[in-house]
Amino acid sequence: MKRLLRLLEKRSALILLAVLVAAFAIGDSSTFLTGSNFENIARQIALDAPMVFGETIVLIVGGIDISVGAVMAMSAALAIGLQPYGTPVAVVAALAFGAAVGVVNGILVTRGRIVAFVATLGTMSVVTGMVLTYTKQRPLVGTDENFAWWGGGQIGPLPVPLVIVLILLVAIWVLLEHTRAGRQLYAVGGNHDAAFLGGISINRALVGAFTLSGFLAGVAGVLVASRLDSASSQLGGDAPLTAIAAALIGGASLLGGRGSILAAFIGVLALGVLSNGMDLLGIPTYTQIAIHAVILVAIVAIDALATGLRRRNAALLRISE
């Protein structure tokens, strides 16, 4: 019975995805239901997915990370800008930068005792400043032709970024579901005090989650840079909101302790299908932004209402006992 309930809850992302696919299939079947269009969707969501994975991990542990968009932009800038020193150096620097910002976020939240979203808002501002300073507000263009393979190449029939994302998906799934560290993340997010009394290091869990989130935003930055073969300060503006929304669709909660990486992936897929379908139907950009915004607000509002309901149910259970 419990399993069934859990399945039902997790299915909300799937239902949304199915509805969207059905709607666009009916609306524009000639292009939507083609192999090349599915490849388009796959390439598009592969750029967002790492960030959503990171955001999901942070939400599970009870935090929130607003800095992911800025980190992605800076990592993209580094991955392009440092190519004269060799592409491996540039990529490693981009990933290391993401992880470093994550560590700083974690330290600010644990040692500095600053509320997660305020701390990451601060680092977002600093990192945005770094992006502006580093790019001098001009787009950077890549010099290494082989670099484009990571974002645009193919392995067999599959786009490279999708393969990378699937590898990340499996790795994070194993981490969250089948390792002690992963279960500890849920424990910390679910009940801070119980986790502490159970001998779990809260600080280590938080710093670990933020570091992973920063690193994954770095991965997203590298993939975006490779895909566009350029980087600019314009990247990643509404990325935090999109990442949080996708994670919430995937069943994560702003209160922590909940969420699954597979459902989060379906959440990204749903948002990807949505923008792709709107493009195909020729909906103007402004309207698309508006629709996007309405959906994001709706998701946050529904999450809040559902949380309120869960709390009330929990309170009722306690009374009936």
């Binding site: 509320v115 979203f117 680092t123 977002m124 001098k136 702003l254 209402l305």
Partner: protein, 336 residues
């Protein structure tokens, strides 16, 4: 998250009443520091600035700083009211652009000076009402909700202007943003100071103002005492948005034109200014006169960075760093 914030507020509130034992002197010192950090910082910055640049401490430059911060200041006043209730508004950035656009479109459409300004303010108030109703009805995190409405209002502003610059047409409109009293003091500066003083009075001396503080400190206690907490929260959202709209109109009047993204970054800057001034991020502590000082600190920092030839992009790094330092110090001092 909210619950932990509330308990922190309650504990804080109990402390002065329980001033028994402990290192009281330290408490007094910390209290003094906490209450005057922004002022000390401002004085230190002005002294440092006078040494660093010969241009800095001239009447003209100081008046320029005042003029430069007067728009952000109005936004920050509204943000302060919301922060006091332990809430935020990230949509002020879009509202600044949106209200200017509505005002200019009204002028183009044949409305006179005052009706067009009224329409601009009304547009802001409407956004605030939506924010407030959404947050209150769902109990959702105001930060994320207003981040979403920010995007929504921005997209509306974009579609109204088709991403182009609009020019104001009403005669006399630019007096608000460019006009000067006695030829040196801008009306917008006077407006900011008057608004700050009025809201400080409202906060300290009216039931509405006191209810705002209670909302930030202990909502449940306020409700049980028969205060209209929900209405107060809604009013705070509407006021915040309306003040952002006023700032947008002043900005439009100053440059006689408007674009959709003219408020870019103001959501963040207004929160920084309020927190710099000493308004707590967790509600219940602060005031609008303090925010005035916070805005001045930001203005002086910006001005000094320009005078010292620091690249304009680096200002963002400085602002973010100052913000993190202030938030950290705010928390550390409150715990200490």
């Amino acid at each position: 998250m909210t619950t932990s914030i509330k308990t922190a507020g309650q504990d804080e509130n109990l402390k002065p009443g329980l001033a028994t034992g402990g290192p009281e002197r330290l408490q007094v010192w910390l209290g003094f520091l906490r209450n005057n950090t922004a002022l000390l910082l401002l004085v230190a910055l002005i002294i440092a600035g006078s040494f660093a640049s010969p241009v800095f401490f001239t009447p003209r430059n100081l008046l320029n700083i005042l003029w430069a911060v007067s728009i952000l200041g109005v936004v920050a006043l509204g943000q302060t009211l919301l922060l006091l209730t332990c809430r935020f508004d990230m949509s002020v950035a879009a509202v600044v652009g949106f209200s200017g656009i509505v005002t200019v479109l009204a002028q183009i459409g044949g409305f006179g000076l005052y009706p067009s300004i009224a329409l601009g303010l009304l547009a802001g108030a409407a956004v605030g009402l939506c924010n407030g109703l959404l947050v209150l009805a769902t109990g959702a995190n105001p930060f994320l909700i207003t981040l979403g409405t920010n995007l929504l209002v921005y997209s509306i502003a974009l579609s109204l202007t088709h991403s182009k610059t609009l020019y104001a047409t009403a005669p006399g409109f630019n007096v608000l943003g460019r006009g000067q009293l006695f030829g040196f003091l801008h009306y917008s500066v006077i407006l900011l100071v008057v608004l700050a003083a009025v809201f400080e009075f409202v906060l300290r001396r009216t039931v509405f103002g006191r209810t705002i503080f209670v909302t930030g400190l202990n909502e449940t206690a306020g409700r049980l005492s028969g205060l209209r907490i929900q209405m107060t929260k809604l009013a705070a959202f509407v006021l915040c948005s309306t003040l952002a709209a006023l700032a947008g109109i002043i900005m439009t009047s100053r440059i006689n034109s408007t674009v959709a993204n003219s408020g870019f970054g103001m959501e963040f800057d207004s929160i920084i200014a309020a927190v710099l001034g000493g308004t707590s991020l967790f509600g219940g502590h602060g005031g609008t006169l303090r925010t005035l000082i916070g805005v001045l600190v930001l203005g002086v920092i910006n001005n000094l960075l320009v005078l010292l030839n620091v690249p304009i992009e680096a200002q963002q790094i400085a602002k973010g760093t100052v913000f993190l330092l202030v938030v950290w110090a705010d928390g550390a001092l409150r715990r200490g």
